[in-house]
Amino acid sequence: MRETFRASMGFLHTWSGILASALLFAIFWMGTLSVFDKEIDQWMIPETRLPAPPQNISYDQFVPKVVDLAGGSTTYLYFRRPDARNPSLKSYYFDTKTEEYERATFNPVTGEQIETTDSLAGTGFIFPFHFSLHLRWNNVGYWLVGFAGMSMLVLIVSGIFIHRKIVQDFFTFRSTKKARRLTLDLHNMTSLTALPFHFLFALTGLLIFASIYLPLGVKSVAGDDEQGLYQEIYGSKQLTPANEPGELVSLDAMVAEATRLWTENGGYVGPPDNVRVSNVGDKNATVFVRNSFPSGRVAMNQNVTSFNGSTGEVIHNHVPSGTMATFSWLEGFHFVQFGHWPLRWLYFVAGLAGCAMMSTGLIFWVQARIKKGAVDPLKVRSIRALTIGSTTGIIIATGAFFIANRVLPFEAEVAGFDRAQLEMWAFFVVWVGTFVHASLRGAVAWMDQSFAIAGASIASVLLNWATTGDHLVATAVAGQWAVFGMDMTLLAAAAIGVVSGVKARSVTAAKTLSEKSLKPKAAQPTGALPAE
């Protein structure tokens, strides 16, 4: 224990910050991009840049097509309703030839199958990165993210205690003061203004995976029948297969019936957005018609109706419990699947503020160490490299991911890796490269990597133009806001990269002068973190 409560909170803040910030930045960065994951999908898979789909979607016409693709018969079918953000109709099915789950994409207007660019894009790479880090082995990614989420809560609470003047620093940003002061101001400002948002984000993130982090809680209620518990909570109980052949009746009729039931219950907020059929081909096929991600409400997973697939009879019309409704709100808050554009952009900005909070926290710590006289050159260099690689580095790697997506040929395959995997490799190789670069270049790497962000962003916009013909004017005229927005955001990133690069150059130049005359100092300015 430190001598005062505040000092021990400072100790806690410093150490949990050092241990978790790099990881938190990666999670927050990917999470922030996930706010626009479907727009990124459209940008990276240009074949799906379709006009907004019609209101009435018939699933029946797609059933035989997907069954054909699956090899003439299948046991599992899934359709995702197209909407403005995701204008193509996506189907997942169990392929009886390959014995694997596959995806097919259709044009909802013509009904034709679309051959899509092989890319994991936003929903397949960026979104899962932010909760699993793509480390599936033994759920280690989930646990690391869980550790980071818990650290975030610790950081927020300890941060409040070490901060003396919460209200007064709400607006404080002294651009004219020294770099160190400016870093701390930015750290305090981004922390304080978005505090409720960041706190709730870390909390709901932990709650969503609570069954992984606290498995005994689930076990104590469900015993060995975990599946049964989830089926009860989410209303997804299915019939036991009868092992007798059965014909699937009209899905559209079931969709209409579910819509009618939901309207009757007063819970209707939009058309069913997905249809899932299990035990396809069996007399006891079960069809789930759900509105998992309603556009007009925060809470998700409220409307679920299941049908007997061979008769069309309603098996169960689910009414979630009160606890579940609360959880659904918290889940919906985190998933951001509602159609609320101003709020979507506010999430994006607040997410970036979170990234700024983590990086300024790290930078301040490095600066404080140097200022205190702890200037073991190797230590400073490695801490700095870690900070640079985990902040600007991951942004450059994301740019490399976009560039790889645009330059790789349609059928690319290298050493057994398919196109989607090659894009991921581009990301990870460049990311590791940024750490190496930062450790070689020292403080100058800030400038290099800021300019690299700008370069990668501009290259992405130009490559999108070159490979698809969709430049800014074309997309604006055609009303392709997903692609237009993505290009504009990339250009904004380029502008920020250039400004940061120029700033970093002047700071580095000034620092090289002052570091020569540096003397160890013990005293900390008011409000500063007691760096240990």
């Binding site: 209200v167 007064q168 709400f170 607006f171 404080t172 940003f173 002294r174 651009s175 004219t176 400002m189 981004t190 304080l192 203004t193 978005a194 505090l195 409720p196 948002f197 409400r297 925060v298 809470a299 709100w329 808050f333 509602f338 609320h340 101003p342 709020l343 506010l346 999430y347 900005v349 607040a350 503020a353």
Partner: protein, 107 residues
């Protein structure tokens, strides 16, 4: 209708927070119209917090309670960053408001 309500909600948050920032001595000194002018702190705080309540009401009118639980804190939080940056880089934009809120110091 819904867009104008959103714009209005954002404006009330920004002006409300501008009032609150001017009620703090540290920020007042950057913006004050003259060296002798002091802010009407009580009025600034009443108007400032009042506008934040109005902003909450506009959010609820637009989207209901469930959305407003997210929309309001985010609108206010990000507006606070906007005000902080305005004080740092374009304090002149707050001068008109400061002139309104100023009074001469009592001898």
């Amino acid at each position: 209708m819904s867009l104008s309500l959103m714009v209005l909600a954002t404006l009330t948050a920004i002006i409300g927070l501008a009032c609150l920032s001017l009620s703090q001595d540290k920020h007042w000194r950057v913006v004050r119209p003259s060296k002798t002018a002091v802010p009407r702190v009580r009025e600034l705080r009443i108007v400032g917090y009042g506008l934040l309540v109005v902003c909450a009401a506009l959010c609820i009118a637009r989207d209901g309670i469930s959305f407003s639980l997210i929309l309001w804190p985010l609108t206010v939080g990000i507006s606070a960053i906007v005000i902080g940056m305005t004080i740092a880089y374009r304090p002149v934009l707050l001068k008109p408001l400061a002139s309104l809120a100023a009074q001469e110091a009592k001898a």
